[in-house]
């Protein structure tokens, strides 16, 4: 058995076409049915200047939107937070563009789209938009990406005694890549985590163990509609937060390692 440690949740952010913010997600996760709003086409995070917002790839918009929401709820200055951006696949649209262009006319590769293809592009745009010079990390761990990101971010908060932003996002595969990558939905979620905090909405007690099996609480329609999206593995934790249900969740944090998350209020 491994050591345990604790962090507090200060802020939450969510974006999907149906649930463009935490308030909408919380309502849905509590089982309250509201008149269906038109799905949002793209998030429009106000932290980005309007021209950037128009030009930015969807993966960047999703990540920055939820990060901004979580910082606002936490009442934290975004530029003051070390951050961990977690995505299983990264920007699948830019990968499709690069691979298609390389196959057709490699000398036409756009320099901007090339530097946007790095996995840490959303983290880089976030740091630039917020003036953040603290530790900036971008990770990937396949289906276990959310849990690995949660472990990395929570452990940073614990061991550095500093608040941390975690943003998990994945976008839909496009083009021929759909033959190898099952993700067809868009989902992003963010948490601001801090060691013992006066502004805590919930406390997490974490430990690692040797099983990647995930025990979801009750499956929701929401989970079913996002089951192909690795960032939506955050939904059981978000559901517990929305319902203020204390309990223990199992989250995969590697292909054969798990994170036991005890949540209390």
């Amino acid at each position: 058995m491994s050591a345990t440690f604790e962090v507090d949740i200060e802020g939450v952010g969510v974006w999907s076409p149906e649930l463009p913010n935490w308030d909408a997600a919380r309502t849905a996760l509590c089982g309250i049915v509201r008149a269906a709003a038109d799905p949002a086409a793209r998030p429009a995070p106000t932290l980005l200047p309007p021209t950037e917002r128009r030009r930015a790839p969807e993966a960047v918009l999703l990540a920055i939107e939820v990060a901004q929401q979580a910082c606002a709820m936490a009442g934290r200055e975004p530029g003051e937070l070390a951050h961990v951006f977690a995505s299983a696949y990264g920007d699948l649209a830019v990968n499709d563009y690069l691979c298609a262009t390389l196959a057709r006319a490699p000398l036409e590769v756009s320099p901007t789209r090339f530097h946007n293809s790095v996995h840490n592009a959303p983290a880089g745009y976030w740091a630039i938009a917020t003036g953040c010079m603290r530790s900036s990390t971008a990770i990937s761990a396949g289906a276990a990406t959310f849990g690995a990101g949660l472990l990395e971010a929570a452990l940073f908060a614990h061991s550095e005694s500093a608040p941390v932003l975690l943003a998990a996002y994945d976008v839909a595969a496009v083009g021929p890549l759909q033959d190898a990558i099952a993700c067809r939905s868009r989902f992003a979620a963010a948490l601001v985590l801090a060691p013992r905090s006066a502004r805590a909405h919930a406390r997490l007690r974490l430990r690692t163990h040797a099983s990647a099996a995930e025990l979801a609480p009750s499956a929701t329609l929401l989970q079913a509609s996002h089951c192909d999206n690795p960032a939506a593995r955050s939904l059981p934790l978000l559901a517990a937060l929305a319902r203020r249900e204390s309990g223990v969740l199992q989250v995969a944090a590697g292909s054969s390692a798990g994170l036991e998350v005890e949540i209390s209020f």
Partner: protein
């Protein structure tokens, strides 16, 4: 070649990973650590920039007439960043926390920081860290489109430098707590930061790089004068070398030696962190400070620290700088073990 049992993983990146695992007895040492601590107590954190994206590019070049992937490419083993780590995990059999860090050219430096936190908190007893990157079309044509690639062999910090040379590499390190072997060289500090400036150009005053360096020194409890050698990021791009040369000149005394080894290795991108961490460790082990290959006349921005020629001297403390796109910085600090 990959062994037949790993045929599904076929890609240039996984082949290089396998080659790297089998160098210098590393795989045997890793397996011995797994046997000693138990597979679930070994974390695996690897860095890569493009992972096996070369296979995805190939699949696009060889699409079927209906626009779909060839049946052999419709596999999960090669088309996502984490596949490198999954392959190494399958090859070694670790069962602890695992993840891929992909922050461009700082990726396999940052793996040391994340691993240190897992070990410090008692969430693992050992960590296998490292990085692998191989050439693929997006990297070759992408750096070309940014006009960052030299037509000659790269000449870091040369007044007439004309850009970087791309390279490829695999490297791994086994980290354990200091008590496991007090004579082994140790990670004594690290610093991580962001530039908050530009996606593909460094901060003009090197403020992000300076924050990472200062943090690494603070964690190590070192003054700049306590550093014997700094392995520089030194890509031979106009901007990086100018900013990094100024940072070294204003931070360190003349007794600290510094060099870029990219004239030997090329810029190995997501593997540069581990490659240059290994070079820093070799400098400590061998008492040899490598020079800056291909460089003839140093840029006037360079202080007395930057060396063109190899120098023999005792190295007790060595740093390694790694900076990446997105303005992502990491500095590692290593020191000789006790009695070493």
């Amino acid at each position: 070649m990959l062994p037949a049992e790993w045929a599904d993983w076929e890609s240039r990146n996984h082949r290089l990973a396998w080659l790297g695992l089998n160098q210098d007895g590393f795989r045997e040492r890793a397996l011995a650590a797994i046997a000693r601590y138990g597979a679930s107590r070994i974390a695996l954190i690897l860095g890569t920039s493009t992972s096996s994206m070369g296979e995805t590019e190939r699949a696009y070049r060889e699409l079927e007439a209906d626009g779909h992937f060839d049946a052999a490419q419709s596999r999960r083993h090669a088309h996502a960043p984490h596949m490198l780590t999954e392959f190494v995990q399958a090859a070694l059999g670790t069962r602890g926390p695992s993840m891929t860090i992909s922050t461009a050219c700082s990726s396999s430096a940052k793996v040391f920081a994340s691993a240190e936190r897992l070990l410090r908190a008692g969430l693992a007893d050992a960590a296998i860290v490292g990085g692998v990157d191989t050439l693929c079309g997006s990297v070759a044509y992408g750096f070309n489109s940014l006009e960052l690639v030299s037509r000659e062999r790269c000449r870091p910090f040369d007044v007439d430098r004309s850009g970087l040379s791309l390279g490829e590499a695999a490297g791994f390190a086994l980290l354990e707590r200091v008590d496991a072997d007090k004579a082994a060289p140790r990670l004594v500090g690290y610093g991580e930061s962001a530039d908050a400036h530009h996606m593909s150009a460094p901060h003009p005053q090197g403020l992000g790089a300076e924050l990472a360096l200062t943090d690494a020194l603070a964690r190590a409890g070192l003054a700049p004068s306590g550093v014997d050698y700094v392995n520089l990021h030194g890509t031979a791009s106009r901007h990086n070398d100018e900013v990094e040369a100024a940072l070294i000149a204003r931070t360190f005394p003349a007794t600290t030696l510094a060099s870029s080894t990219k004239g030997w290795t090329g810029h190995t991108l997501g593997a540069a962190g581990i490659v240059e961490a290994v070079i820093a460790l070799l400098a400590i082990e061998r008492g040899l400070v490598p020079g800056t290959l291909n460089t003839q006349t140093l840029d006037p921005a360079c202080g007395p620290q930057i060396q063109i020629d190899n120098r023999e001297r005792e190295v007790r403390v060595a740093l390694s700088n790694s900076f990446g796109f997105g303005g992502n910085n990491c500095c590692l600090a290593f020191a000789a073990g006790v009695g070493a």
